[in-house]
Amino acid sequence: MSPVRPAPGGPAAWRPTTALGRALVVGALGVVGALLAGEPAVVVLAAPFVTLAALGVVHRPTHDPVLDSRLDHLTLREGVGTTSRLSLSDAEDAEYLVRVTGQPPYVVMRPSGGRVGRLLVDGGVPEVEISPRRWGRRMLGEEKVALYTPWAGYRFGPVGIGGQWTRVLPTTAPYDSRAEAPQPLGLVGAHRSRRTGNGTELAGIRPFQPGDRLRRVNWRVSLRTGDLHVVTTRAEEDTGVLLVLDALADHGASDGVDGAASSLDLGVRAAAAIAEHHVRRGDRVALRVVGRGHEQVGYGAGPRHLRRIQDRLATVRIGAAAEPDSGVLQLGVTGGAVVVVLSPMLAEPVATVAATLTRRGVAVLVVDTLPPDPRPDVPEDADATLAALAWRMRMVERSVVLDRLAALGCPVVAWRGPGTIDDVLRRLARRARLPRVVGR
């Protein structure tokens, strides 16, 4: 952030305070009036103000200070704080400093409200600790600063200092899953594949063939049968996980990381947790946000890729997206990928794409992110009874959609943290091993 330098005629200049003006007026009028009218009582009343005015004027500033403010961190997680530090130079004339920090939504500060005034003793400038409570891009550290000379004679500012854009990443809720991927199809990973290969999971025992390694020979079976037999294992492969986040609307109240969570809060945090879990297991993870911003991250692995996903999640914008193909979502699902749809399931395109992919034999899992007691965002002038009725109808439609998805074989689970999708992933993995007919 560039330092704020005084501009001629602007607010960044020393100006007399109203307190000095009051002392001058009362002192001068009192003394002059007393002398002219011969009223000594007024001299007694005015004498302290003459002193106050004189002391204020004596401390007239001679230097223009230069202000600069910086945040310690520009990337944060929800609930984690940073410090806004103000640096002053040429501020020898100042005795008192006031910082009034702007209060964007979902941000808490210490001192409370980001308003602090302190005496500048030994060059100590008060700091403001800022903590965003919700993911997203936030302008933090925007503030107004004022300086006062001793005896409050002159004031510098208030000077507006622009803040810095900060990326608030969604918090990674404690999440772990021991379930294997339904259709691993990759290179090296931690999931048991359907095909045989190098691994630890026993697949079977078969007669020896040229090329088999000797250490695979099962001597017990070979001695019993009289022919060489080898142990076969199932290959261990990585899998692709496509996270589809529904950002078409946000339902329910959001009170930050330690309060009530809206549907998008749940979706973003669940996506971050699932992505982190799979990236750490070596899987390839992709992200597709169905919303106004069309945020998308291709398949990839590793910590840097995880960071890209988290960055994209932090910039999710709510709103309807215009899909190119007459409203039909194109997710670009690759073979062997698991599709995790995080949605409150109130939008038709998302339900349609989940059903279509399930029919095609893709392992699709829907994580229901609708909060327990959602309330529709109704305009004040709308009929409350009508709105409640419309919301109930929408809930009925939603339950019908969920039932149809379940009938198609697409599991729907509510997000509840660790182990949320374990059971359904295991069932999907078992089902994937069975022969089935799929639509193309």
Binding site: P8, A13, W14, P16, T17, T18, A19, L20, G21, R22, A23, L24, V25, V26, G27, A28, L29, V31, V32, L35, L36, A37, E39, P40, A41, V42, V43, V44, L45, A47, P48, F49, T51, L52, A53, L55, G56, V57, V98, V100, P105, Y106, V107, V108, R110, P111, G113, R115, V116, G117, R118, L119, V121, R133, A146, A152, A253, S254, D255, D377
Partner: protein, 179 residues
């Protein structure tokens, strides 16, 4: 969606600011009421006017109109009492100084910004120091009260007024004008 209204956000005034603003309100009222024991009780409407002006000053301590209750108090003491023989003028001076100092500290920041103890202590000391000039002036006026009027007092008064004007101009003039 609630943007965390009231989430650690002090929408209410800070207690220290309330205390300071109460002093801004009470100071001029005490100063004008102190004329009563001195033998010139103010009419109720005058007390009301002073209280209203002081209340406005307490609400917006950074307002230039904050000088109004001080001038009304000065005017009443000048019109009603004249001489400084009563020690109650010291009470009035204390009331005005307390109101001025409290207003100066309160105007440092918004009403929701608390004032720290060190600042309050510093300004309390300053207020007491400045207030010492009132008994000195009171003693001097009592000593000189019986003396015959000096022939050059009017010249001295005009010179003091000119000096005050020069000081005020030097103090209130902006530095851009100098450039």
């Amino acid at each position: 969606m609630s943007p965390l209204q009231g989430y650690g956000e002090p929408d209410d005034w800070a207690r220290s600011q309330i205390a300071l603003r109460v002093l801004v309100l009470v100071g001029p009222v005490v100063a004008v009421l102190a004329a009563g024991p001195a033998g010139h009780a103010p009419p109720w409407w005058l007390v009301g006017v002073v209280a209203a002006l002081a209340g406005a000053s307490a609400w917006v301590p950074d307002s230039p109109f904050g000088v109004a209750p001080f001038l009304v108090v000065l005017g009443w003491w000048a019109a009603a009492l004249g001489d400084a023989s009563s020690a109650w003028v010291l009470v009035a001076a204390a009331g005005l100084v307390v109101a001025h100092v409290a207003g100066a500290v309160a105007s440092y920041g918004p009403a929701t910004m608390p004032v720290d103890v060190a600042t309050v202590r510093l300004w309390a000391g300053r207020g007491l120091l400045v207030l010492l000039t009132a008994p000195v002036a009171w003693a001097v006026t009592r000593l000189l009260g019986d003396q015959p009027e000096q022939p050059g007092v009017w010249v001295l008064g005009v010179a003091a007024a000119c000096l005050a004007t020069v000081v005020a101009t030097a103090a209130l003039g902006t530095r851009e004008e100098e450039r």
